[in-house]
Symmetry: C2
């Protein structure tokens, strides 16, 4: 079986290589694609140097294509990849809201992936991190309302986002004014409540993605969700403060126990021991940290909690590879016969 | 009339001097006090060098004492200051919850200050910033529930908090691990959902202060408030994402107009022009920036908004001076006859 990565040289591409090295996914060959500018460069995979090729115009001779080169490229090229016989696991938002494209977090709705018609969408990173904590609570207690405030890292904008934070912070520490190119305003020591484009309703697209995608993954269109998405000067891992109004009352201890036996989650909730979710501890970790689990003071029987998840991993690369693993484990990924 | 500052050499003390320079408060003399360690140092006020004295054991011969040297010093010494005839405007949390101590934000409940018995409390900085936006909405629409997530600057822990952020960020940029002394964990490029001590209910004292103090200032004990207080790597200005459930439905435009005519608030809400509240623009500003005003997606007729306020100013020094101005304007501050 042959796996291809499109967008291999970006921040998520880098993580895809690293996650694939440790993955249980069985495949014979890995192809790497990126923009023509990166063609000819090499990346190391399991000790071997692999050469990056320019993404071709038409089909790619692979069984699984992990696409992470942005929405425009996915939109333009995925139909040809599917026509060529590949299953496309797409990290962009290009197809997430199409009715016949499953939007999948394997721990939550893996079975949806089996109903694909060639394309499977990977959710927005903020959604993927939140839904790991919220889905088990929804199954057990029925979430009616969900209020989310995010603390999003600069790597949400890729490697260039992290570079801008580091370079501009260096400028500020040397007494110079910070400038901005990637972000809407200078990011060092600042907070920017603006991620992705503003919609007519005053919410950003990033905020609406959390609402739209959480409902689709959980499979409950009645769920009410309000989000404030905020960029802060961190490098990686998105944190989120979440307040939940529930159908059936929960206690913090019951939620702690529920999440402790839920896949993809690490309960990190010992305030006395100064243990709670933080980018410092969640970065590089596959599991999403969940803590600060406490009774809501605004909803009877509701729950407040705080999550931190490495959005380059669970929010992107890891989730994509886990979708491929899920397909293979369920016999839904068979390599083509090649000469 | 004589004004004294206790804690003159700290981050808030520094702002008190600057705010007093521009204040309409009429007084003849300014006395500066701090710990014995700082005694003998000088600070500039209106071009004059003033010598800092060690805070005495007993009374201080001043008409107004602006106290900002921490809860322990206020608790221990304020009774003697009051006995000596001074009005104490206290920036610590020592007296905020005493039934006979008014907790005052002049734009919201200035008249409460006139009922003091010697001590007037200045609210917690996070509360002061939020309440300027929320109180006018409460008066017009009746707030039932308020959900707050904070993005708090390191200067909430004083000058030493800012120093730790700058020094440790420098370490990280030079490839070294950050350490921590002021904060519970290293703060550079990190997020710490832990400010002040944890309470039995799983909330921190900082989070409960927002609930307790907002209710006291607004004068409505039925208001339900849930807060998540989070330290982030910024220098000054606290930002807050706030979701409001209202008795009577509001529209974003009506709230924008209401806040535009409210004191202490600058409506900064033009997403198309990339105008919204941010530490970068709110730092050093007396008004609290309010923006991202939009319909709540979880409460019918409710409102989501975002605020950013320089917590060293409105959250501390500015509010304290404004309380003194309010007392003087209402004839409630008369200088003693001195020989």
């Amino acid at each position: 079986m042959r796996v291809a990565i499109v967008g291999a040289t970006g921040a998520v591409g880098h993580e895809l290589l690293s996650v694939l090295e440790k993955s249980s996914l069985q495949f014979d060959e890995l192809l790497l694609f990126a923009s023509p500018r990166s063609a000819g460069s090499t990346l190391t995979f399991k000790g071997q140097e692999l050469t990056v090729q320019a993404t071709p115009e038409g089909a790619i001779d692979a069984d699984v294509i992990l696409a992470s080169a942005g929405g425009a490229i996915s939109k333009a090229k995925a139909p040809a990849w599917v026509a060529g016989g590949a299953v496309v696991i797409d990290n962009s938002s290009a197809f997430r809201y199409d009715a016949d494209v499953p939007l999948v977090v394997p721990e939550v709705n893996g079975e949806a992936a089996l109903r694909h018609k060639g394309i499977i969408a990977n959710p927005n990173c903020t959604t993927a991190v939140a839904v790991l904590a919220v889905a088990p609570i929804h199954r057990e207690y029925g979430v009616k309302r969900m209020i989310v405030s995010t603390y999003q890292a600069t790597s949400g904008a890729g490697q260039k986002g992290m570079d801008e934070l580091l370079e501009q912070t260096h400028m500020v520490l040397h007494g110079k004014d910070a400038t901005n190119d990637v972000f809407a305003h200078p990011i060092p020591f600042n907070v920017i409540p603006h991620i992705d484009a503003f919609q007519d309703n005053g919410y950003t697209k990033e905020e609406m993605k959390v609402a739209w995608e959480t409902r689709k993954i959980i499979g409950d269109e009645s769920l009410k969700i309000s989000c404030t998405a905020v960029r802060i000067p961190t490098l990686r891992t998105h944190s989120e403060a979440i307040t939940l109004d529930l159908e059936r009352p929960a206690t913090p201890q019951a939620v702690r126990e529920l999440l402790a036996r839920s896949a993809g989650v690490e309960v990190r909730d010992d305030p006395g021991g100064k243990l709670y979710p933080m980018p410092m501890t969640a970065s590089g970790k596959y599991d999403v940290e969940v803590g600060r689990i406490r009774e809501s003071l605004v909803f009877d029987g509701g729950i407040d909690l705080f999550v931190a998840g490495d959005q380059l991993l669970k929010g992107a690369a890891l989730n994509a590879v886990q979708i491929a693993e899920y397909l293979q484990e369920h016999g839904a990924l068979k390599g083509k016969q090649r000469a």
